[in-house]
């Protein structure tokens, strides 16, 4: 079935997944088939997810007072109490400036660098799209294996509707947390339906799906030949563009090949649930559910999720905050605004904890999905009022295959770069790199 819509809104529902319910019953019923190849304990893969919180979290409402074990949770982090045994929170680090107030916070989140170009002396006309490979991509190098999607990048909003708000940089720096290499940003996909289709392929009967997949593969193959010929006739920079194009085609080809080998495993009519949900809360839930499904079905082992883009202007009316997130983060130490700022943080932590609960409930080899995962939830700034890079929130949850001892509040050396944490995350995932961006060593977890 071709899904179309126009004029009104961005939501296309498929029969049966209607109304307020946002659970994905159809999807969940597919999972047993997906994971039919039973995994032994030894082969349960390592999963990594990074979740980005825009506009920071006020440190006084976040970081525990006491270091070490059995610390007291502050209010915003409180909903993570049930996961204490598999949780490590880190304070006193310093996040990099990353060239710009907001853009720098998110674009440096996973590589400690952000845009390589700086504004200095260049006026407004610079458009260099260059950063550094991010930690999730290093991790994917090690753990992705033969999963159809090497990594998934998702979000709930992008700069498509935030014209003129990219701080004078290419908006890609706002849209992408992950960089496959120094010049290849991986922007977030915000449409759950698109994410679903990337994970499971087109909707339709099994034969229709198989034939569409076959045609897709032939199309890509044929386009590759055409592009290679075209490339020879063009000049330097245009060739570079086609090289990027070709390398991305290859990525998709590999993805489809790996998906093909699993096609038979998906039985029944896999019908995509939704387009862009109208309610933000639904959008959050569906996106987390899709990530859960990706990990559970071993469709991908690495994801990044921007719950909003940095400087997000989203209102949180559904929890009684009609003002935009960004304006609330500039609280001016006003008590009421600080309370709202904390409430938004808490809401996000509740959504995160619901996701964690699902991972914990899901069997995976000899343990749970959470046992075999490492989730990093954090932001590129602490006090949004000052865009303060000191003491940003950073919490790790998950057993990480027994490599992470929980129930700890780790106090870093004062102003230790967050890149040191990123290096530690890579090592936890078994990716032996020596440094990452401006890291001065590995954070002692």
């Amino acid at each position: 079935m071709i899904i179309t819509k126009k004029h009104l809104s961005r939501r296309t529902f498929i029969r049966g997944t209607f109304g307020a319910a946002v659970a994905l019953p159809l999807l969940e019923s597919m999972v047993p088939a997906l994971t039919a190849q039973s995994r032994t304990a030894a082969s349960a893969p390592f999963r990594f997810g990074a979740i980005y919180m825009p506009n920071g979290v006020f440190p006084d409402t976040w970081h525990p007072e006491a270091a070490g074990s059995d610390f007291q949770f502050k209010p915003v982090m409180q909903p993570l109490e049930p996961f204490r045994d598999q949780l490590v929170t880190i304070s006193k680090m310093k996040a990099p400036w990353g060239s710009s107030v907001h853009l720098g916070a998110s674009s440096a989140f996973l590589n400690g660098v952000g845009p390589v170009a700086t504004r200095e002396g260049t006026g407004d006309a610079f458009g260099k799209i260059q950063s550094k490979k991010t930690v999730d991509q290093y991790v994917a190098d090690t753990v992705a294996g033969d999963t159809p999607l090497r990594s998934i990048e998702v979000g709930t909003e992008d700069m498509g509707t935030a014209v003129g708000a990219c701080d004078g940089f290419p908006c890609t720096f706002f849209d992408a947390l992950a960089w496959r290499d120094d010049v290849s940003p991986l922007p977030v996909g915000i449409n759950p339906r698109v994410t679903f289709e990337r994970m499971f392929g087109e909707t339709g009967s099994t034969e229709q799906r198989a034939s569409r997949l076959k045609e897709k593969q032939s199309l890509l193959d044929s386009v590759t030949h055409e592009t290679a010929k075209l490339r020879k006739t063009l000049g330097g920079p245009d060739r570079a563009i086609l090289d990027e194009y070709l390398s991305n085609i290859r990525q998709v080809e590999q993805q489809l090949d790996r998906m093909e080998s699993r096609l038979g495993a998906i039985t029944g009519n896999a019908e995509a649930p939704v387009g862009l949900p109208e309610a933000f809360d639904d959008h959050m839930t569906i996106t987390y559910n899709l990530m859960h499904l990706a990990l559970q079905g071993d469709i991908s082992r690495v994801f990044t999720f921007a719950v909003g883009h940095e400087a997000s202007d989203r209102g949180y009316a559904h929890i009684g905050i009609p003002e935009t997130h960004h304006s609330i983060s500039h609280h001016g130490n006003d008590t009421e605004k600080l309370a709202k700022y904390a409430k938004i943080g808490t809401y996000q932590i509740v959504k995160f904890s619901q996701f964690l609960a699902k991972l914990k409930e899901t069997r995976d080899g000899d343990g749970t999905l959470l046992d075999h995962s490492l989730l990093y939830w954090g932001s590129g700034m602490s006090n949004g009022n000052l865009h303060d890079r000191s003491n940003p929130p950073a919490v790790l949850v998950g057993g990480a295959h027994g490599r992470l001892k929980g129930n700890r509040h780790v106090v870093a050396k004062q102003d230790e770069p967050t890149a040191n944490l990123l290096l530690a995350l890579a090592h936890l995932a078994g990716t032996e790199i020596e440094s990452l961006g401006p890291s001065s060593g590995r954070l002692d977890l």
Binding site: M1, I2, I3, T4, K5, H7, L8, S9, R11, R15, A20, V101, E120, G121, G123, D124, A125, F126, G127, K128, I129, D158, M159, G160, T161, A162, V163, G164, A165, D167, S184, L186, P187, G189, N191, R193, V194, T203, R212, K216, S218, L219, L220, S222, H225, E226, L230, G235, G236, P237, I241, Y245, I249, L276, P322, E323, T324, S327, L386, H387
Partner: protein, 838 residues
């Protein structure tokens, strides 16, 4: 292609004339000689004694007015220090800085307030000399700029599909958003690819081809169109039949001739948890129309429904949902499907309506039913696929026998490829699509299935997805050359239509006639009046004025602004788009964007503004009597975009005016900028008011340098509340204080005064508009090397009353639009993105 050579010569002549006119004396620079001249750094004309005296005079002027702060030692401003002690003999190494100086001085924003200001004559004298010197310095060194292959962005892709296949698609559902830069999403160097995007391109090609050909195999599914909860439905909705109330109209593409279940779902209140029916005590007639004709009607509400609902709301829900579903036979292709209510105005008058927005109440037993969503489900009992606009466009032949099939397929696909690739096609271009046609036939598909597969292949081609321009053989790297007529046709159509050239334009270009005398101007006129030029209006204003952000960013607190609804939000955008479109198509002055004593309103928006005498849903031109409401500064779109949920933001408004209209954006706040509260710490006496706080804040130099400029234009607009309505008193009940001093020292006290201050130096505003439009037209960032072009376009437009079409034509005739430079083989896309001054 002999035509190209002739036309190239023509345009070279034109360019030379254009550049020569920027200089004071007779010179003969041509762009083709750029390399040779820059190799031998002889500036046009050796400095004469009088020129030297002239330079010394301006040096002294700079030293007196600027160098006190902007020198090699004091880093001012700290985030991007400017040093104006550098030589005036050679401006190009610092061309960037000098352009910035021109912008600041053009707005009279320097020297800062509190410092002695030069006389107006002195300002004009210096800026005229500086801009003229820059123009002369670039002469012979100018390049048309550097282009890389341009990927179609989302809206270009959708428009191209519309023009190729007569198919309206909502591409935002299928493709990820494009990376933007310089404020626009059509910047070539920013339109990168990702695995996500490429996978979506192929998926989209498959679906679009199926929609175009029609799909008798389509499986039933449901498409739901949601109506915003904030959308009021108490009145007639534009495009629905007269005599109806509320509801919505959707254009749905039906995959096949078949039966479809069309249904409406009621708004049920309490965030959908309430299962009852609003207005259920009286009967209402729900109707469904297809292309204007009623195809289904049902009665909802009345004593019986009321009784069921009183007994069991869930039972009533099932009952009414079923009754609001009609099973209707529909032919394949796009149809306008309306879902609405027959109006009973006489019975409306006793309904209590506390606000203009009708979505306030939790539920209204005595009110009116409204639609929350409409659905199209199907197809069922497929009969086949009859004629559709897409099929008529696509199938330029029908094979009468199996023997004719191959030739007909070839004709269909080659015809499509020519339009899709925007150039004459060769047999080699046809190989791949025809291969897909054959493959589909071998796999057992019929003729249509083969064509569908071929269409999918064409839509997946880089020749469709990229705008490719080629350098003629034998041209040396770094050498500018005129682009071909075909390339020019694409530049024109993507600038004016955000789409592919039409047959007429393509034919002219293929015949090499596009640059014949009068032809280009006539084509541009034709294109601007064509409705496809709505794309220029929507995409350009959507981004220059940020109207695209209305949906995502304008969310006034509904309790504070009970009249604000989605109808108003949509009307805001419509008003500004109609306004800009009118000024463009009626060939009016760009200054009317700020000064026009008219705007475009419908009843709802007129009521919102307090403009009397406007009735009905249709927008029409309305003369404004209140001078404060004139022009863009009185548009609700801009006033609401620069507000926050609960109040106006003078800082946002000030920033908008400075950036969008005057091209003097304030620098972003530096790292660790102190807040108002922190600025107050350590003060001898604690500040009591916000004004006192701000004053302390401004004692911190980095804060002051921006807020001194930012706040006054914002304060001048304080008479408009955050949803664009006039007010004389603020939320605290005190009279609104709009007084302030602009950067140029002019005192303003309200919207009209602010507008007049901006218009007192129209060049600053028109330059900004021109620079933004040039960026949009070229799809690249503007560099100092382009500024002589901007100035030339503005000068020429000024002689023509600043008409927008003069600006558009000036851009189209300029060297950057007509030419390209062959790039060095080693240049990367990133180095093109940031084209450096050579």
């Amino acid at each position: 292609m002999k035509g190209v050579v002739t036309s190239a010569a023509l345009i070279f002549a034109g360019t030379a004339v254009m550049l020569a006119q920027t200089a004071s004396g007779p010179r003969t620079p041509t762009v083709t000689r750029a390399r040779a001249q820059s190799a031998a750094p002889a500036r046009a004309g050796a400095p004469t004694a009088s020129a030297a005296a002239e330079a010394a005079k301006h040096r002294a002027w700079l030293n007196k007015n600027c160098v006190g702060c902007h020198n090699s030692k004091t880093k001012s401003p700290p985030e991007a220090p400017v040093n104006l002690e550098t030589s005036l003999d050679d401006l190009l190494p610092q061309a960037d800085t000098w352009e910035r100086v021109l912008r600041k001085l053009g707005a009279r924003a320097m020297p800062p307030q509190g410092m002695p200001h030069p006389s107006e004559g002195d300002y004009v004298g210096f800026t005229t000399w500086l801009s003229g010197s820059l123009d002369r310095a670039w002469e012979g060194k100018s390049t048309p700029g550097r282009y890389v292959m341009h990927r179609l962005n989302r809206s270009e892709y959708a428009n191209a599909v519309r023009d190729l296949l007569a198919l309206d698609i909502d591409v935002a559902d299928w493709l990820p958003s494009d990376g933007a830069n310089f404020g626009f999403d059509n910047i070539a160097a920013s339109l990168r690819t990702s695995p996500l995007l490429l996978e979506r391109y192929v998926a989209a090609a498959q679906r679009i081809s199926a929609m175009a050909v029609g799909d008798p195999e389509a499986r039933p599914g449901t498409t739901e169109y949601l109506i915003s909860r904030e959308f009021s439905q108490s009145g007639h909705i534009d495009s629905l039949p007269l005599g109806t109330r509320g509801g919505t109209m959707v254009r749905h593409v039906f995959p096949a001739d078949a039966e479809y279940k069309l249904s409406g779902r009621l708004m049920r209140g309490v965030e959908e948890g309430y299962a009852g029916v609003e207005g259920n005590d009286t009967p209402h007639t729900f109707i469904i129309t297809i292309d204007g004709a009623e195809v289904y009607s049902a009665q909802v509400g009345g004593p019986k429904d009321h009784e069921v609902q009183a007994r069991d709301m869930n039972e009533a829900k099932v009952l009414i949902d079923a009754r609001m579903t009609g099973r209707v036979a529909v032919t394949a292709g796009p149809h306008d499907v309306g879902f609405t209510w027959k109006e009973r105005p006489a019975q409306r008058q006793d309904v209590f309506q506390p606000a203009l927005r009708d979505s306030q109440e939790v539920h209204m037993v005595g009110g009116q039913p409204r639609l929350r969503a409409v659905n199209v489900e199907g197809p069922y009992n497929v009969k086949g696929v009859s004629s559709t606009p897409s099929r008529e466009r696509l199938f330029v032949c029908r094979p009468a026998s199996a023997a004719e099939e191959a030739a007909c397929a070839d004709k269909i696909l080659m015809n499509l490829a020519r339009r899709a690739y925007r150039r004459p096609v060769t047999a080699a271009d046809g190989e791949a699509p025809l291969g897909f046609y054959k493959q589909a036939r071998e796999n057992g598909g019929d003729f249509d299935a083969g064509i569908r597969s071929g269409v999918a292949r064409i839509l997946s081609s880089p020749s469709f997805l990229y705008r490719i321009e080629r350098d003629p053989a034998g041209v040396r790297p770094g050498t500018p050359h005129t682009i071909s007529d075909l390339e020019l046709a694409s530049r024109l159509s993507f600038f004016l239509w955000s789409s592919i050239p039409d047959q007429k334009l393509l034919d002219l270009a293929a015949a090499g006639r596009l640059r014949e005398p009068g032809i280009l101007a006539a084509q541009v006129r034709r294109m601007i009046t064509d409705e496809r030029a709505d794309a220029l209006v929507n995409n350009f204003t959507g981004q220059w004025l940020q109207l695209r952000n209305l949906e995502s960013k304008v969310a006034p607190d509904l309790l504070l602004f009970p009249d604000f609804d989605d109808n108003i939000r949509k009307a805001f955008r419509r008003e500004t788009e109609l306004f800009f479109g009118h000024i463009m198509r009626e060939n009016r002055s760009a200054l009317e964007l700020l000064s026009a004593d008219y705007t475009f309103l419908n009843e709802r928006l007129a009521k919102h503004y307090g403009v009397p005498g406007v009735y009905g849903e249709r927008f029409r031109q309305v003369t404004l009597t209140d001078p404060n409401r004139r022009g863009l500064l009185g548009h609700g779109s801009i006033l609401s975009l620069t507000s926050v949920a609960t109040r106006t933001s003078p800082v946002f408004r000030g920033k908008f005016v400075l950036s969008t209209f005057l091209n003097t954006p304030p620098a972003p706040p530096p790292p660790d900028v102190p807040t108002l509260e922190e600025s107050a710490k350590g003060a001898a006496t604690a500040p009591k008011t916000v004004r006192e706080q701000l004053e302390l804040h401004r004692k911190n130099a980095p804060c002051a340098s921006c807020h001194r400029l930012l706040d006054p234009p914002g304060f001048a607009l304080e008479n408009f509340n955050s949803v664009g309505q006039w007010r004389d008193t603020g939320p605290d009940g005190a009279p609104v204080d709009t007084a302030g001093v602009l950067a140029d020292g002019s005192k303003v006290d309200g919207p009209a005064a602010l507008r007049n201050a901006i218009l007192s130096r129209p060049d600053a505003f028109v330059s900004t508009l021109t620079e933004r439009m040039l960026t949009y037209a070229l799809g690249r960032g503007i560099e100092p090397v382009d500024m002589p072009v901007v100035r030339r376009v503005v000068r020429k437009a000024a002689q023509n009353d600043y008409r927008i079409t003069a600006i558009i034509m000036g851009i189209i005739e300029s060297a950057p639009f007509q030419m390209r430079t062959k790039l060095e083989p080693a240049e990367s896309v990133n180095s093109v993105a940031r084209a450096t001054v050579e």
